[in-house]
Symmetry: C2
Subunit: 113 residues, 2 copies
């Protein structure tokens, strides 16, 4: 049986919406292999510091990343558990799909061997 932990609709909305932007997916990918500061990140994109800061905030609200202060810097790292949540929902959808396909086979193929 597939277990899908409960999550508020709003929380799932935020999760998928956070992933629906190329800059944010890029920030997320970077924070997966490094622990950059917000200005490290900002230096990599052709937009203002404030814009990158907002993207980081969206990822943080969605629970995909955390920040931790290090002097005047804020270091960004990913929250893998949260990332898995999106994956789990999609796996759940896929399991439903497979069930349906299995049922169709029952209908379309002769019973028994």
């Amino acid at each position: 049986m597939v277990v899908v932990r409960k999550d508020s609709e709003e929380s799932l909305n935020q999760l998928f919406r956070a992933l629906a932007d190329g800059t944010r997916r890029s920030i997320l990918a970077r924070s997966l292999t490094e622990t950059p500061s917000v200005s490290d990140l900002a230096a990599r994109y052709e937009m203002s510091f404030a814009a990158v800061q907002k993207h980081v905030a969206v990822l943080e609200r969605a629970g995909l990343i955390q920040k931790r202060a290090n002097g005047r810097e804020q270091l960004v790292s990913t929250n893998h558990a949260r990332l898995q949540r999106a994956g789990e929902l999609l796996e759940y959808f896929e399991s439903i799909w497979r069930q349906r396909m299995a049922q169709l086979e029952d209908v379309l193929l002769p019973k028994g061997k």
Copy 2:
């Protein structure tokens, strides 16, 4: 090696944004197990027919569902391959995460056995 097929940024944006709405996730789930008409779907939600029609259009543009005409009805069914795409990207992220964890182990644990 994890294979992530190329997809335009915009296409991925549409895919995740389409999933970032509870009504649309519900429509998608329903279309996974049935092949409802647009008005079948509309009857299930507390919003206008036009609003549901718009949600269906968003899912269709994202490639997550298709419609096929049946007389005056439009029957909605899911495109599983497209749904898998979102899952693959998340799996890719997860593989990067696992690589990083493996590298950390190399650093934190003594070499050799």
